[in-house]
């Protein structure tokens, strides 16, 4: 029914989808799996007519519907082709009823006004009936007059499904991680519903990180890795081992570090992470990983109050309150986030300010009037010298220390962030995705510096990342998070395949 031929997509010259050929059949559930950043969501965004695709130059290759060439440039074209998508984050309107949500922008009216179609009077009975039909078709039973806020997450998911299926002549339904926030019974209900939808002759693309679900509900499974379609399996050939191999690829990764002889004392103790706990040892390099949305970033972000969290943290036995950043900073705990623009750089400010900001009290030499830091002018000479030294050490490409950071490339921006961390000289450093979105040379350099900080300055480094190879290479220990819990800890020789399976919740926890 739907065929993709030689489909490719690049963002700013960086290829994210490479020559994808895929056939989707009516009445079948087609599973799509792959690690973070493998190109799944880009593929789905193309099919859904997401505006980011058109804005970044569109895609290349052909999309065929029933053998006819079609182009999808915006959302309404996608809808016209009968493609519907249920997003991971629900797009429902709070404060409105189930019917209103299902029939949004497709309301039935009693009569329609010529000049302004918006002014036509609604036909409540017809709309309620339609909503009821749509809900019954997927086996959901609820009062369509209910306000959406009163529903459970599961019911909301059904409303979202019903809204998409209420569209005229729907041919293809895309489900992006529909089960990620559901419990077991809810998931079961949803999966059987997906099966029913497919049995009505609708093609379904099902994206999930939970391999059991994939095995259970899909007829065909395709694996994406680094923007390339690696393999497609029919039901008879399904095997978790094959899936994992294809997702990671057979690569040999050497551990870069000799295992540490002795283990340090516990530096920080995290407990009540949904019933589990994690000890961070002094002087180690600890990797934390997990699939998207499994709670791995939440540890650092929760600690620094960026997101609400409910775990407990003790630093050298002292209880820390989450989000009390000035205490955390005073104890020498430092967080380097992956969202550079939002949380780790002053984009409009010069390089030197980004390097030394907030470290003045640890480096009195930056201040002219040391007796009164608050009202002291900065010692530009000392700062310039420091910034220049950092630029040379880290090989940062920039006009001068006075250039605004936004002029720098992503890799150099990240180096500026590292320079600030170096200036700060933390006791405990949390880094989130340190190598995301930067070039290969900067990647190596940044990893080297993280290790150098660990060895030279005895900084304990916690790296949160989805890049398994990198973690295996640089870390003493790797912790896998699954469904908000500490799932498994790997130490010493780590097997990538085992690690990958662990990401999907398989393995001996």
């Amino acid at each position: 029914m739907l065929e993709l031929k030689h489909l490719s997509k690049a963002f700013d010259g960086h290829t994210v989808l490479n020559d994808i050929n895929l056939t989707i059949l009516p009445g079948k559930v087609h599973g799509l799996i792959g690690a973070n950043g493998s190109g799944k969501s880009t593929l789905m965004n193309i099919l859904n007519g997401n505006e980011t695709i058109a804005r970044s130059g569109g895609y290349t290759g052909r999309i065929l519907l029933d053998g006819r060439d079609i182009t999808i440039q915006n959302h309404s074209q996608s809808v016209a082709c009968g493609i519907a998508m249920v997003h991971q984050e629900l797009a429902l309107f709070s404060g409105m009823t189930v019917t209103e949500n299902i029939k949004i922008n497709r309301e039935k009216t009693r009569f329609s006004t010529l000049l302004l179609p918006e002014l036509s009077l609604l036909d409540p009975n017809k709309n309620v009936r339609d909503a009821q039909h749509a809900l019954e078709a997927i086996g959901a039973h609820m009062d369509p007059g209910q306000v959406i806020d009163a529903l459970s997450l599961n019911q909301k998911q059904f409303v979202e499904l019903a809204r998409e299926l209420d569209q005229q002549n729907i041919r293809l339904l895309i489900l992006d991680e529909p089960t990620s926030s559901l419990n077991i019974t809810e998931t079961k209900a949803l999966l059987s519903c997906i099966r029913e939808i497919a049995d009505r002759g609708i093609a379904v693309i099902f994206i999930s990180h939970r391999l059991e679900e994939i095995m259970q509900v899909c007829d065909t499974v395709s694996v994406l890795r680094d923007g390339t379609l690696i393999s497609t399996y029919e039901k008879a050939d399904f095997s978790v081992g094959k899936f994992a191999d294809d997702m990671v690829g057979r690569k040999i990764v050497k551990t870069q570090r000799a295992a540490k002889e002795q283990k340090g004392d516990v530096l920080m103790q995290l407990s009540q992470i949904n019933g589990t706990g994690l000890d961070i040892r002094e002087g180690e390099v600890l990797g934390i990983t997990g699939l998207a949305g499994q709670g791995q970033e939440l540890l650092a972000e929760g600690l620094f109050g960026l997101k609400p969290a409910s775990f407990q943290a003790r630093f050298k036995g002292e209880k820390l309150s989450l989000g009390d950043n000035s205490t955390l900073t005073a104890r020498g705990i430092y967080y380097l986030s992956d969202d550079r623009a939002k949380t780790s750089l002053f984009r409009e400010s010069p390089v030197w300010k980004n390097m030394i900001f907030g470290t003045e009290l640890r480096h009195r030499e930056f201040l002219r009037w040391k007796a009164c830091p608050a009202l002291s002018l900065l010692d530009r000479k000392a700062i310039q010298a420091h910034a220049q030294a950092m630029i040379e050490q880290l090989n940062i490409v920039c006009r001068s220390p006075d250039a605004p950071v936004r002029e720098l490339s992503g890799g150099n921006q990240q180096k500026v962030c590292i320079a600030r961390a170096l200036t700060f000289a933390p006791k405990l450093l949390f880094v989130n995705e340190p190598t995301r979105g930067i070039d290969i040379y900067s990647k190596e350099l940044i990893l080297d510096w993280l290790l150098k900080m660990n060895e030279r300055d005895h900084t304990t480094v916690i790296i949160t990342s989805g890049e398994l190879e990198e973690l295996v290479r640089v870390c003493d220990r790797v912790v896998v998070m699954y469904q908000g819990q500490v799932f498994q800890t790997f130490e010493g020789e780590m097997d990538l395949e085992e690690l990958t399976l662990s990401l999907y919740g398989r393995g001996n926890a």
Binding site: A91, F93, S94, M96, N105, L116, E118, L119, L121, L122
Partner: protein, 351 residues
């Protein structure tokens, strides 16, 4: 208990009204006649605020633009020496046309100012108010030459501040007159208010009503689902402007004199205060908030100076108090709204 918590503002103001009425020492019939006058003059302004609140733009302080459109139409009608039914049709027709035009302009500006609509609408109101004054104070007699010289000042430049609109008033008083507290009132304004209330109810039950609610609930999602949110917001602002224009026509006809330069000033603050006193928030406003709010706010408005006189021997205290209430209730509404949103976010996190 929950009822009390959700209706804290109206209940508190109601108690204040009782106190103020008690100390003012006026008769109930006097109060009701005064409140009736203010009710017919202000209700449509308050109703004009509902749709912009529904579609998430907060309180539209730019309803002044609607009042200006109506005043322009009235000055033009006086210039053309109209009377009888033609004057009513002319004034209503021209002010609707102008409201559509200027309302669209206002909406274009507000659509560029997402997140700061309220303060931008204040500035739009101020700017259009002075531009309007400029046209009639300086433009008339120099660039525009009216057919009816009598509306000009003696210097020959600028329209008089006070224009007698007897022809318009006559149209109103001739329809269904009745007497209250010794004064003769017309039922026509009440009929107009009733008609526009029905129109508003219709709009709320139309496609526009649902889409406006969706845009107000989550603009991003609405766009994602193919709702043209800018268009919806524009329609809401235009309708709001038309409502305000109608209200100004009623006010001027009821008063009998058009205050060309000052008649439109301050209406937006009183309307905003009234709807918030009636229990609306900057995210949600219902019809009953409007009617309740108008009655409560204006009861306090009328009685507080007299209560101030009787209690403190100083009428201005009451005046100060009521303007404090008018502005303060807006601050309180914003604070409460933010608190509510924060709670909601926390709830979502827990769920």
């Amino acid at each position: 208990m929950k009822f009390l918590k959700n209706n804290l503002v109206p209940i508190a103001v109601f108690l204040l009204c009782l106190l103020s009425f008690h100390y003012a020492g006026v008769s109930l019939s006097y109060l009701s006649s005064e409140v009736y006058t203010r009710f017919i003059r202000n209700t449509l302004f308050v109703l004009a605020l509902i749709l912009p609140v529904t579609c998430g733009m907060g309180i539209n302080f730019a309803i002044v633009v609607g009042a200006i459109c109506a005043q322009t139409a009235i000055v033009l009608a006086m210039d053309l020496n109209l009377s009888g039914l033609p004057i009513l049709l002319f004034v209503v027709g021209v002010s609707i046309a102008l409201s559509v035009l200027f309302g669209t302009l206002v909406a274009m500006l507000l659509n560029r100012a997402r997140g700061t609509e309220m303060i931008v609408s204040i500035m739009i109101g101020q700017l259009s108010s002075v531009l309007y004054q400029f046209v009639f104070m300086v433009g008339y007699g120099t660039i525009f030459h009216p057919a009816n010289e009598a509306i000009l000042l003696d210097t020959g430049v600028g329209v008089r501040n006070m224009l007698d609109v007897a022809p318009l008033k006559q149209v109103f008083t001739s329809v269904l007159p009745f007497t209250l507290d010794g004064k003769v009132y017309s039922l026509l304004p009440l009929l107009i208010i009733g008609t526009f209330t029905l129109i508003l109810i219709y709009l709320q039950k139309s496609k526009l009503g649902v889409l406006a609610k969706a845009v107000g609930s989550d603009l991003h999602n609405a766009n994602l689902l193919g709702v043209n949110s800018n268009r919806i917001r524009t329609i809401c602002i235009v309708i709001s402007t038309i409502f305000a224009a109608m209200s100004q026509i009623i006010t001027v006809s009821d008063f009998g004199t058009a205050m060309v330069y000052t008649g439109h000033l301050g209406i937006e603050t009183y309307a905003a205060a009234a709807i918030l006193v009636g229990g609306a928030t900057i995210r949600e406003a219902k019809l009953r908030n409007c009617f309740l709010g108008v009655v409560l706010f204006h009861t306090l408005f009328i009685t507080s100076p007299m209560a101030g006189q009787n209690l403190f021997n100083n009428p201005s205290v009451g005046e100060y108090f009521r303007s404090f209430l008018a502005y303060g209730v807006i601050v309180i509404a914003i604070i409460m709204n933010l608190k509510k949103e924060k709670d909601l976010k926390l709830q979502n996190f827990k769920a």
